[in-house]
């Protein structure tokens, strides 16, 4: 399909590009597929038309936005990928699984197409109330934490911590719908706008002064792409760090890890004794894109018995896990060399026994990679909240 390049080049202000290549140089998937965003921008500028369907590698982008963060000229290269995906969405030339995820969101409000009425099933007996009019904090759970059995432990741990800290909070229950962050990045601008309208109305209706999310992806779109005027949007790591700092959330003991996977000969402590060595993986949507680096680390450092060690590539130089931008629902053009594989080896090299994450996608992609790479005898992937939960008393 031939796309006239000039209107999109103008809309996305590509003319300021100086072709320095910093975008492609830093693009984590460009190292393993033919995706070259710098070259795509150049084609948009010099060719009258582009055959978008000839670029299946457009689905390789994880929307980690490393290119956007580093572009010296504010060109926002990843937005071109989103725009070009939009062309493919409009003409229906999209991977089947992407189509299914979008359809699931349209019909049931979640990309897995699970029943809307099951959205609050994650609660599983934990005390959670629906958001009352005027409650202080609205907790937005998100799709994957609501439905994925592996991730459901994270919202459960969060509400326990909120309760322990005496936080006045509530959720949207089964009325909650997908935030649309990945929808926009998959190029479905129309569905995204619909979600923004519906969610904004729902969220504003609660009247909470703060909105806290499980996922950095929801956090990102609420904070940067919605206009929730006056409502402060937080990722849970910010709120938990604040509750610890204020002394409202207290730890009573080191995390009760059921098993300590890391034998001493591999640099771990082994046998459930001594410090738990933890390394932390910065999620792209929390770190690179929103510059929240310190709060997750502050939480980990505050947990008794935890020793935080850093991977070489951390903070602004963290490596994407390859789960964002719709990549949870499509493999891309190179499924052999996953970035998550490389990342878990980097984590294992630190001698850590726990690879802590603060994002549902990272939790799933990295945990899978640990198994595939045979590192599960020495490295466990856990959300920060799992460690927090294991270090606070249940009766508080």
């Amino acid at each position: 399909m031939a796309l006239k390049t000039e209107p999109m080049a103008e809309e996305l202000e590509l003319f300021g590009c100086i072709q320095c290549g910093k975008c492609t140089g830093g693009c984590p998937v460009a190292r393993k597929t033919v995706l070259n965003i710098r070259s795509l921008i150049y084609q948009m500028l010099v060719e009258p038309e582009m055959d978008v369907s000839a670029h299946p590698e457009l689905w390789d982008c994880t929307s980690c936005f490393t290119c956007v963060e580093r572009c010296p000229k504010d060109v926002r290269p990843a937005e071109l990928i989103i725009g070009l995906r939009g062309q493919l969405v409009e003409s229906g030339r999209i991977p089947e699984t992407i189509g299914a995820a979008l359809m699931g969101i349209f019909r049931q409000g979640n990309p897995s197409g699970m029943a809307r009425e099951d959205r609050a099933a994650w609660v599983n007996g934990t005390a959670v109330k629906a958001a009352q009019k005027g409650c202080e904090t609205l907790y937005f759970v998100g799709c994957i934490p609501s439905y994925d059995p592996r991730v459901q432990v994270v919202p459960r741990a969060l509400v326990k911590a909120f309760a322990a800290a005496g936080l006045d909070f509530g959720t949207l229950g089964t009325e909650e719908s997908c935030c649309g962050n990945e929808v926009r990045r998959m190029g479905e601008a129309g569905l995204f706008e619909m979600l923004v309208e519906e969610n904004s109305e729902l969220i504003r209706g609660v009247g909470a002064s703060r909105l806290v999310t499980t996922s950095p992806h929801c956090f990102n779109t609420f904070k940067n792409e919605y206009s929730l005027d006056g409502i402060e949007v937080l990722h849970y790591t910010q709120l938990i760090a604040e509750l610890i700092e204020q002394g409202r959330l207290k730890f009573s003991h080191p995390p009760n890890l059921p098993e300590r996977p890391s034998p001493p000969e591999l640099g771990g402590t082994g046998g459930g004794r001594g410090k738990i060595i933890v390394t932390y993986h910065d999620p792209c949507f929390l770190g690179k894109q929103n510059h929240i680096f310190d709060e997750p680390r502050a939480i980990l450092k505050a947990i008794p018995g935890v020793k935080l060690v850093e991977m070489d590539r951390n903070r602004e130089r963290s490596l994407c896990c390859e789960g964002g931008g719709g990549r949870m629902w499509t493999e891309g053009t190179n499924l052999e060399e996953r970035l998550a594989f490389q990342r878990v080896h980097e984590a294992a090299e630190t001698g850590a026994e726990i690879l802590a994450v603060a994002c549902p996608f990272c939790l799933l992609t990295l945990e899978d990679a640990v198994k595939v790479q045979g590192l599960d005898d020495r490295l466990q992937v856990m959300d920060i909240m799992e460690l927090v939960e294991m270090a606070i008393d249940d009766d508080e």
Partner: protein, 459 residues
Amino acid sequence: MEPRESAALVIGGGIAGIQAALDIADAGYKVYLVEREPSIGGRMAQLDKTFPTLDCSSCILTPKMVDVGRHSNIDLMTYSEVVSVTPPSRGEPSWSLSPSPEGGDEGGVFHVRVRKKPRYVDVDKCTGCGQCAAACRMKGRVISRFDEGIVKRSAIYVPFPQAVPLKYTVDPTACLYLTQGVCGKTFLCKDACPAGAIDFEQQEEFVDLEVGAIIVATGYDLIDPRTKPEFGYGVYPEVMTGIEFERLSSASGPTLGEIIVNGKKPKDVVFIKCVGSRDPHTGVPYCSRVCCMYTAKHAHLVRDNIPDARITVFYMDVRAFGKGYEEFYDRVKHERVIYRRGEPAEVYRRGDRLVVLAEDTLLGKPIEVEADLVVLATAVVPRTDVSEVAALLGLDRSPDGFFQEAHPKLRPVDTQVDGIFLAGCCQGPKDIPDTVAQAKAAASSAMGILARREKGRPA
């Protein structure tokens, strides 16, 4: 030679201030040269060689510094700062192509107050022998800013051996006595000084001056490369800035000119240009103008020092615009320096080496280049106290943050304040030839005012 009655003030003792002061003094006027640091010399004194001729920087600078120190018309006030300036009168802002018309307050003078910071050393007695520094309890423990932190000095010091004046200064932020109130049982520096020059009773002094013209030559800073965290500066010792590299390769530097990183000569050296420059994100939308050429020079110095090194320069554009510059760039390329087009995205560690990630945009593919040394060409930025100095002198600043000239083309060294002129990098990034040319222009303009002022007065 008896100085003529009019005097000029030059603020800043780098090459711009030195040249302006010498020109004005040679014409017979009195010049007060005020320098904040213990020695004049500025950035140029830190440099190893200069492009494109490869003259040794301190070899061509030191004679000028000595001339300043010995000139009968120059009152050199080092370790001093201008604290207040009262202009003759504030006329209308002169956004015209020429200075205010005759009949302005040509007879007026600027009243200037200078604070002379205490050196705690009597400069009339100090012979510069250095026995105090050798004896200091803090010896080898104080970061040398002149050597960009590569070596450590004593709390009593001269910034570098060719300092003018060659007089020792006690660093009040590092001296045990001045920070803690006590330094062992006895002052080791005082005991060591054969001239009895050390005087901890010294107080700051204020000196009032009357001058007919002021030349501002306060220089520049370099951006902190930690604002570009992707390059790992401050994380990896093998990542350094261009000015640090100057000290490393300087024959008078801490390694006596041996390029040594982590105890060995690097085999793979990568240069990254435009670190912070041309980047509105860092507040530096402009080109820093000197990096293309000093990076070419650095590449040459590596080749000279390490003949079998693999040298890669990453660039977005090569701007070799000055006299002899393109020829120098050609020469360096013939010396087997590989220029690869692409601004690197990231530096990280692999084993005991660094990896530079980039796209080679001419190949159109992402690449990794291993390195033992990565040199960042950091952006030239206004000095951190530029807004205070602007307020002190009533100067405007251009959008890039540097001092604003009165007209970008036709009054390039004038300012909005009649009688105040700009020289060197305080007006914007420039290389040494342009700086010296501008200093001479500023001196000429200042002398015009001084001459008119003398003429207008009864003898």
